[in-house]
C-alpha cells in the first residue's frame, strides 16, 4: 500500500511538474505522448496492484 501510494504520488507529481520543466516549449506531440505513456503505465500498475490485493484477501 505504501509503495503503491509513493508510486502514485510520483506519477501524479511528474504529470504536473514535467510539462512545466522538460516540455515547456515543445513543438511536436512529445508532451501528449509523455502523458499517454505515464497514464498507461500507471493504469497497468494500478490494475496489477488491485489484482494482487484481491488475491491476498
Amino acid at each position: 500500500m505504501v509503495l503503491y501510494l509513493i508510486w502514485s504520488l510520483a506519477i501524479i507529481l511528474a504529470a504536473y511538474v514535467l510539462p512545466y520543466t522538460l516540455f515547456t516549449s515543445v513543438t511536436n506531440l512529445s508532451l501528449y505522448v509523455f502523458w499517454v505513456i505515464i497514464a498507461a503505465l500507471h493504469l497497468l500498475v494500478s490494475c496489477a496492484y488491485i489484482r494482487a490485493g484481491g488475491r491476498r484477501e
Binding site: Y4, I12, V26, L31, Y32, A39, H42, S46, C47, G53
Partner: protein, 490 residues
C-alpha cells in the same frame, strides 16, 4: 421529411427503444426492496459495474466541452482530463476494496449513510445529503440543458426543438429509473457507454480519413499547432490555472456520491477488480480519442480546411457538419446518451440519499416501503427541478454546475479519514468532520458568489488556487479533531 432530419430522429428513436427495452428487461432482476432499487442488491457483474461507473463519470462535457477546450487551448486540455483519470484510478485501487468490504458488513445504501455510520453521527449524514443536493442539482440541470441544446442543433436551432429535447430528457430519465431502479440505470448505462465509445471511434476514423488522407499533411498541420504553442502548456494553462482546474477532479472518486455508491455494487471481489480495470481502459481510450478529435479539428483550421471556430461548444457541431449524416446522428445521440447516463445516475443517488438520510434521518422509524416511495417521489421531483432549471436557464445556477466538484471537495478529508481511521475516531473527529464540511462548503460557495461562478476557478484566493484553499482548510480542521482524538486515546 429530409434525410438531414429523418436520420437523426431515427437514431434517437433506436436509442430510446433499445434503452427502454433494456430497462424493462432489467426489471426482472428484482426491485422489491430499497437495496435492490438503489444499489442493485449488491449484485452487479464486473462489466455492468464498469460501464455504469464510466457512463456516470463521463458526461456530455467530453464530446462537446473537452473537444472544444482542446481545440481552443491545445494539449493542456488533455493533461487536465488525464489528471482526473490518474487520481481516480489511484483512489479506486486503494479505496474500492476497502469500501466494498465495509459495505458487506454494514449494508450501506447511500454515501451519506456511510459517513454517518463511520462517524456515528446522524447529523453528518443529514448535512452531507443536503450538500449533495445543493452541489449536484445544478450539475444535473446542466446535463438536461446539454440534451436540449443537442436536440435543438438537430432541429435547426428552433426553441421548440430545445423544449422537445428537455421533454425527451425528462421522459428518458424518469422512465429508465422508474422501470428497474439501479438495475435499469446500470443496464442502460452499459448500452450508452458502448454507444459513446463506438461513436467516438467512428468520429475520429472519419475525421482522419476525411481531413488527413495523406499522413504528411497531419505532420505539417501539427507543426503549425506547435508554432502556435498548442502542443505545450502555456497560456491559458499557467501552473495556477492548471492546478485550479484539476484539483477538484483529483478527489472526484471519493467526493461525488454517484461514483462512491457504485463501489458498493459489484457482486464479488472479482467483479470489483474487473470494474476498476475496464473503467481504466475505457477512461484512457475515450479521453485520448476525444482530445485528439479537438487537436485534429484545430489542425484543419490551421490548414484552412475548417473555419475558425470561436465558440468552444460549437467545435463538435461544426466539425460534424462536414460528416455523413448517419455519423453525425450517431455522435449527437452519443452526446445525449452521455448526458442521460450521468443525469439519471446522479438523480437516483440523490434520491437514495434524500430518502435514507434526510427523510429516514429525521424520522427514526421508517419502513423500507416508505423509503422506496420517498425515493421514487424524489426521483420525479429532482428530474422536474432539473427540467425547470433547464427551461428557465438562470445564469448563476447554470454557471454553478462547473463548481459542483469544488463544493464537494470538503468531503475528501472527511471521507478518507472516516474510511481509514474508523474505530479510532471519537467525539473530536465527529465535531471537526461537521466543521470541516461546513467551512469548506461555505468558502467554496462564498467565493463563487463574490467573484461569480464563471470566474471562480481563475481568480486565486490568498495567492493559491481556490479549490486548494477549500481542500487545505477542510483538511486542517479535520486533522485537528483526529489529532485530539488520538491524543485522548493515548
Amino acid at each position: 421529411m429530409s434525410s438531414q432530419l429523418a436520420i437523426p430522429i431515427a437514431a434517437l428513436a433506436i436509442y430510446f427503444t433499445i434503452g427502454s427495452l433494456l430497462a424493462l428487461a432489467s426489471r426482472k432482476l428484482g426491485v422489491g426492496t430499497s437495496r435492490d432499487y438503489f444499489v442493485a442488491g449488491y449484485r452487479l457483474g464486473g462489466f455492468l459495474a464498469a460501464m455504469t461507473y464510466a457512463a456516470t463519470t463521463y458526461s456530455a462535457f467530453m464530446m462537446v466541452g473537452l473537444v472544444g477546450l482542446t481545440y481552443m487551448t491545445g494539449v493542456g486540455a488533455f493533461g487536465f482530463e488525464l489528471m482526473y483519470l490518474l487520481a481516480t484510478v489511484t483512489l479506486l485501487a486503494m479505496l474500492a476494496p476497502r469500501v466494498w468490504g465495509l459495505v458487506r458488513e454494514r449494508r450501506w445504501i447511500s454515501p451519506a449513510e456511510m459517513l454517518a455510520d463511520l462517524y456515528e453521527c446522524r447529523v453528518l449524514g443529514i448535512m452531507t445529503a443536503t450538500i449533495y443536493l445543493i452541489a449536484l442539482i445544478p450539475y444535473t440541470a446542466a446535463q438536461v440543458i446539454g440534451i436540449g441544446v443537442t436536440v435543438q442543433g438537430l432541429g435547426g436551432g428552433s426553441e421548440g426543438a430545445y423544449l422537445a429535447g428537455i421533454i425527451l430528457a425528462f421522459t428518458v430519465i424518469v422512465l429508465w429509473i422508474y422501470l428497474g431502479g439501479m438495475w435499469s440505470v446500470a443496464a442502460t448505462d452499459a448500452f450508452q457507454g458502448v454507444w459513446m465509445v463506438a461513436a467516438a471511434i467512428g468520429f475520429i476514423l472519419w475525421l482522419f480519413t476525411w481531413g488527413f488522407g495523406d499522413p504528411a499533411k497531419l505532420s505539417s498541420a501539427l507543426s503549425l499547432l506547435g508554432k502556435e504553442g498548442l502542443l505545450s502548456v502555456g497560456r491559458p494553462w499557467t501552473p495556477m490555472i492548471f492546478a485550479s482546474y484539476t484539483i477538484p477532479w483529483l478527489f472526484f472518486a471519493a467526493t461525488n456520491p454517484q461514483v462512491v455508491q457504485r463501489l458498493y455494487m459489484p457482486r464479488d471481489r472479482r467483479a470489483l477488480i474487473r470494474m476498476v480495470t475496464l473503467f481504466a481502459v475505457f477512461g484512457l481510450t475515450y479521453t485520448v480519442i476525444v482530445t485528439f478529435i479537438g487537436l485534429m479539428g484545430r489542425s484543419l483550421t490551421a490548414l484552412g480546411e475548417l473555419p475558425v471556430i470561436k465558440d468552444r461548444d460549437a467545435v463538435t457541431p461544426t466539425i460534424l457538419s462536414y460528416a455523413p449524416v448517419w455519423l453525425s446522428a450517431t455522435v449527437f445521440v452519443s452526446i445525449v446518451a452521455a448526458a442521460v447516463s450521468t443525469a439519471d445516475s446522479i438523480i437516483l443517488t440523490l434520491a437514495s440519499s434524500t430518502a435514507r438520510d434526510l427523510y429516514g434521518g429525521v424520522r427514526r422509524e421508517v419502513s423500507d416501503k416508505s423509503i422506496m416511495l420517498a425515493g421514487r417521489l424524489t426521483v420525479f421531483a429532482l428530474a422536474a427541478v432539473a427540467v425547470g432549471v433547464a427551461v428557465m436557464r438562470p445564469a448563476f445556477i447554470v454557471e454553478l454546475s462547473v463548481l459542483s466538484s469544488v463544493m464537494l471537495l470538503p468531503l475528501a478529508p472527511v471521507t478518507l479519514a472516516g474510511l481509514y481511521l474508523h474505530g479510532r475516531l471519537g467525539k473530536y473527529s465527529k465535531s471537526t468532520s461537521l466543521a470541516a464540511l461546513l467551512t469548506g462548503f461555505a468558502i467554496a460557495l462564498t467565493h463563487a458568489l463574490v467573484v461569480g461562478a464563471r470566474r471562480a476557478l481563475i481568480i486565486p484566493v490568498v495567492g493559491m488556487p481556490y479549490p486548494a484553499v477549500v481542500l487545505l482548510i477542510s483538511t486542517i480542521i479535520m486533522l485537528t479533531g483526529i489529532v485530539a482524538d488520538l491524543k485522548t486515546r493515548r
